[in-house]
């Protein structure tokens, strides 16, 4: 792979800096000069200072394109200063600038296409590299997800026993070909539980205690490993990662968050923490894993690896692939990326996401990690009709889901804030261990919490058939009627027992998840919230079913249920409930419904799911403003400008801009400051960029230069160019300075952004916020009567919004 394609390109095209229109040659020279000259001459009329130089400069310009395009063009083609166009850690990217850079690069490639065959091939490679990159991302994501699924299911069963003939098989796989007629709780003679390994019997009090102990000890071991690996190698691997991914996709740099070590540790830690039986899922972190894969692979393609805005296109596609493999729902993944995580989502990215999700789902499906021909453990296939009347309980489930979700969000936020500000935060590993021990001790006695959460969800979703021997299906059925295999029946004692256990499981899961989400291990919350909802839904469903059985002659049920058919399916209620809680927690709507119906393969349940998701979102929005991810973004103070919120205040740009009154704006003049002056300015102030003006007196704006670029350019010039010393004048113009005495000037026009977005000081903040959101600005310059007045950065906007909402404006993180 070529490391510095831009540099090479720069040597190939010396001097002639192409503009945006450089492909079209007739634009560059004659026509252009007059066009540009007009505003310049206007300026001469107004000002007397600096005007003279500008006219001379204009005369000396080779092509007269002192238009903004030069700055980007120059940045691309002429600069051999390494690192220009990159960003520092915890900085916000400038979408406009990056996209313009890419456009320049693209034009350059198109222009060179005719030159030689090699250039033609290079152009072709450039054109398809986006698709190739998402293809690779899809392949890798599918494989990694398959590995995590297999590893986690094996290690989860390791807590219960082992398959001595083939240790790599989990319990179900171990009993795969066993032909034993009794199948109590899935055990078979090949699978040995730990007491059996120690020579005890399978049943009995002693065996129970040994199993219990093994369960706790192994859970503790896995959790300790997970927490210490995260702490040792990649602290960024902890948590679910979706709030951070959202922030990164909105244009923030967190170096190392999507790196190699984070990827490895997140995968391994995820397997370990899921197997530890903690109340967490592996679906949310899949998004982070997929994005890390996308980031690593994008370095193979300089077009994406070296341009942060373009890289986010790949990351959006990767996020789609992550959800696609997490739920086996490719379309749901694309919509999730669109609705929940992505910020900048052009149609091109939509198609790439679609392709990426497709490939990832296909790969995972061919790995077949669960042996059920699907990519998730809890895939169920439903084809039962639902009665129109059932919409009422479905909406009721939506309301319950919204309430549970709000309780969860509030409690979890409270706990996370407590962890952040109290001494608890100093003992991350101890906290994980304590939570694990408590979870294991409480979870083991209850069979519904003892089993893997995905299995529990599967159990709750599935229909009671002949193959389901759980207590949950203990109905007083007789098998004499030939026509219907399963008919509606009275609940047996097993169902009553199961309901009590499920209620206990619900309470336990809710409380444990509150304490678990946010611990310093990889943990997601899709699965726990799906599980909470499924439990509630199943209980409501059983209740409805029994109502229909008892009052089958009632007018409500008489239409469908009179024949003795199983007209009400508790599994469907479980599904709707799961969607409701997940929808309440994450505030997803469209993507959630699509994910759920892809999980069940039944298009006819879209309406119930939509009703529940909507009801849950309304209740959630009424009780608490934010979804869990937005709440965590706010807790951490990430600079995330939510494009869904509206800015409703009446402030003006002048109120928000820096500097405030009585402060001076640090500016750089275009041709009168020396290197020493600029270095002193850089030392005194901490701004990330400086406006360049014609002169301090006039304050007419020339452009904007970034601190990082200035630093790099000065350091580079001192190292490379002869004669540059402290007294050298720094020139942001393209002509020569009037005086020729003294050391040679340092020409920095190429790092100058000559097209900064400007607004006037009377612009309403509503417009400014909209510009920041829609254009992805990093900063905008405020002018008054054409003179530079101040700067508004993204951080200022975020602070202002916080201030307006009566929150602490200092909680916004970093730059």
């Amino acid at each position: 792979m070529e490391k510095y394609p831009l540099k090479k390109a720069g040597t190939a095209v010396p001097q002639h800096s192409p503009s945006y229109q450089s492909v079209d040659k007739k634009y560059t020279n004659g026509n252009r000069a007059t066009f540009v000259a007009t505003p310049d001459e206007d300026m001469i009329d107004i000002t007397t200072s600096g005007g003279g130089e500008r006219t001379t400069r204009l005369g000396e310009d080779e092509d007269g394109t002192s238009h903004y395009s030069v700055s980007f063009g120059g940045m691309q083609e002429n600069v051999d200063i390494p690192g220009i166009g990159q960003y520092d850690d915890f900085h916000t990217i400038d979408w406009q600038r990056d996209i313009a850079r890419d456009r320049m690069r693209h034009r350059h490639i198109i222009k060179k296409k005719q030159d030689s065959l090699w250039n033609l091939i290079e152009g072709a490679h450039d054109a398809w590299s986006g698709w190739l990159c998402v293809l690779l991302v899809g392949l890798c994501t599918g494989m990694v997800a398959g590995g995590i699924d297999i590893g986690a299911s094996w290690m989860t069963d390791l807590k219960f026993g082992i398959c001595p003939q083939a240790f790599w098989l989990n319990r179900e796989q171990c009993c795969w070909s066993s032909n034993e007629t009794s199948f109590d709780s899935g055990n078979c003679s090949q699978w040995l539980t730990w007491p059996e390994m120690l020579g005890q019997s399978r049943e009995g009090a002693g065996a129970y205690i040994i199993s219990y102990l093994f369960y706790i000890v192994l859970a503790l071991l896995f959790a300790a490993l997970s927490a210490s690996l995260v702490r040792m190698f990649a602290p960024y691997a902890c948590g679910s990662g979706i709030p951070e991914i959202k922030t990164i996709l909105s244009g923030f740099i967190i170096r190392g968050y999507l790196g190699k070590w984070t990827l490895i540790i997140k995968c391994v830690g995820l397997i370990l923490s899921v197997s530890a039986g903690l109340s967490l899922g592996k679906e949310g972190p899949m998004v982070h894993i997929a994005c890390a894969i996308g980031n690593i692979l994008s370095y193979l393609f300089p077009k994406y690896g070296r341009n942060e805005a373009k890289k986010r296109e790949i990351l959006s596609a990767s996020a789609a692939a992550g959800v696609s493999v997490a739920f086996g729902a490719p379309i749901g993944g694309v919509l999730f990326s669109l609705e929940e995580v992505s910020y900048y989502f052009p149609l091109k990215t939509l198609w790439r996401s679609f392709f990426c999700a497709l490939i990832a789902a296909f790969i995972l499906r061919s790995i077949n990690p669960f042996g059920n021909e699907h990519s998730v453990l809890f895939y169920v296939e439903y084809n039962k009709p639902w009665i129109f009347f059932e919409l009422i309980p479905f909406i009721g489930l939506g309301i319950i889901g919204g309430i549970i979700a709000t309780i969860f969000i509030k409690a979890n936020l409270y706990w996370c804030r407590y962890r952040k500000y109290s001494k608890l935060g100093q003992y991350p590993v101890t906290e994980v261990l304590v939570v694990t021990v408590l979870t294991a001790i409480i979870a083991y006695p209850n069979p519904y919490t003892r089993m893997n959460t995905s299995q529990l969800i599967y159990l709750l979703f599935s229909q009671c058939g002949i193959s389901n021997s759980d207590d949950l299906c203990d109905y007083n059925r007789n098998f004499t009627n030939v026509n219907s295999a399963i008919e509606i029946a009275a609940a047996g004692p097993g169902v009553h027992k199961a309901i009590w256990l499920l209620i206990l499981a619900l309470i336990l899961k809710l409380i444990m998840t509150i304490f678990t989400f946010g611990m310093k291990v990889p943990c997601g919350l899709f699965i726990p919230s799906l599980c909470l909802g499924a439990i509630v839904g199943r209980i409501v469903g059983i209740g409805m079913e029994q109502l229909a059985y008892t009052y089958s002659k009632n007018w409500l049920f008489s239409g469908e249920c009179s024949t003795g058919d199983d007209c009400i399916t508790p599994g469907l209620y479980a599904m709707v409930g799961a969607a409701a809680v997940l929808g309440g927690v994450t505030r997803m709507t469209v993507s959630l419904v699509v994910i759920m119906f892809e999980l069940t393969g039944g298009v006819r349940y879209i309406v119930p799911l939509m009703a529940a998701a909507m009801a849950s979102k309304w209740v959630g929005d009424a009780l608490g403003r934010q979804g869990i991810y937005d709440a965590h973004i706010a807790l951490n103070g990430y600079p995330f400008l939510d494009s869904k919120d509206e800015f409703q205040h009446t402030s003006l740009a002048a109120d928000v801009m820096q500097p405030k009154r009585n402060e001076t704006l640090s500016v750089i003049t275009q041709d009168s400051m020396s290197v020493d002056d600029i270095e002193a300015l850089l030392k005194e102030t901490e701004h990330n960029g400086y406006p360049v003006v014609v002169s301090r007196e006039s304050q007419y704006l020339v452009g904007f230069v970034l601190r990082r670029d200035l630093n790099l350019a000065i350091a580079n010039a001192k190292r490379m160019a002869d004669g540059i010393c402290g007294q050298s004048i720094v020139l942001f113009t393209s002509g020569n300075p009037p005086q020729t005495l003294g050391p040679p000037p340092l020409k920095l026009k190429k790092i100058l952004d000559m097209a900064p977005i400007t607004i006037t000081d009377q612009t309403p903040m509503e417009t400014v916020v909209d510009m920041f959101r829609k254009l992805g600005l990093r900063q905008t310059l405020v002018t008054h009567n054409g003179r530079l007045l101040g700067v508004i950065t993204k951080k200022d906007v975020l602070r202002h919004i916080k201030q307006m909402d009566n929150e602490d404006p200092n909680s916004v993180l970093f730059n």
Partner: protein, 190 residues
């Protein structure tokens, strides 16, 4: 590090492929209620079930193909009643992939644990160099390029070990900073 892992993965895969498959990868699983439910004999239990697992082609994975050849005689002509209650499912799996994946997982975890133990116990003893103050870590390529000439010289003079050591130090610094952000200052990922 990565080369080692790749090598191990490949060797494990080869090892796995050479092993004979002791488990079938296809099955047809049928679950039926006990025969007594149709033969009108004394009702034993609702929960009693029979399970049949055979290896037949997917098309034959149904009551006629699996159940009747075995117990057709006992049913005494009540096949029409018995069969609708049976659930047959054809399933596939790939034990080879499972084996390779689980072995890789075990390997990766053990390597990481060993490396962690090394970093905790041995490294402080071996490595007593005083670390310079932290510089904010930047893009990987970027850092390599800004430190380009100097770094190049060093790698010419030094050997591979030196370069690995340099990379390791850089990585350690990054992790240290991440740890500071998350565990000490609690500015991120709360």
């Amino acid at each position: 590090m990565r080369e080692i892992i790749t090598f191990i993965a490949i060797s494990c895969a080869l090892f796995a492929l050479t092993q004979a498959q002791s488990y079938d990868d296809k099955r047809c699983k049928c679950i039926c209620p006990s025969i007594s439910s149709v033969t009108n004999s004394t009702e034993t239990s609702h929960m009693a079930r029979i399970m049949y697992i055979t290896n037949v082609p997917p098309k034959q994975c149904n009551c006629d193909g699996v159940i009747l050849p075995r117990i057709g005689r006992e049913l005494q002509g009540k096949e029409q009643e018995f069969c609708p209650r049976c659930e047959c499912k054809h399933e596939n799996r790939n034990t080879g992939i499972i084996k390779v994946v689980v072995i890789i997982v075990i390997w990766v975890i053990s390597i990481l644990v060993i490396y962690m133990a090394f970093l905790i116990i041995l490294d402080p003893l071996l490595n007593k160099r005083i670390k310079g103050s932290y510089q904010e870590h930047t893009n990987e390529d970027d850092e390599a390029s800004t430190a380009g000439p100097m770094y190049h010289n060093m790698s010419l003079r030094g050997n591979v070990l030196n370069r690995v050591g340099h990379q390791q130090d850089k990585w350690k610094k990054q992790v240290k900073e991440q740890r500071r952000n998350i565990y000490d200052r609690h500015t991120m990922l709360n």
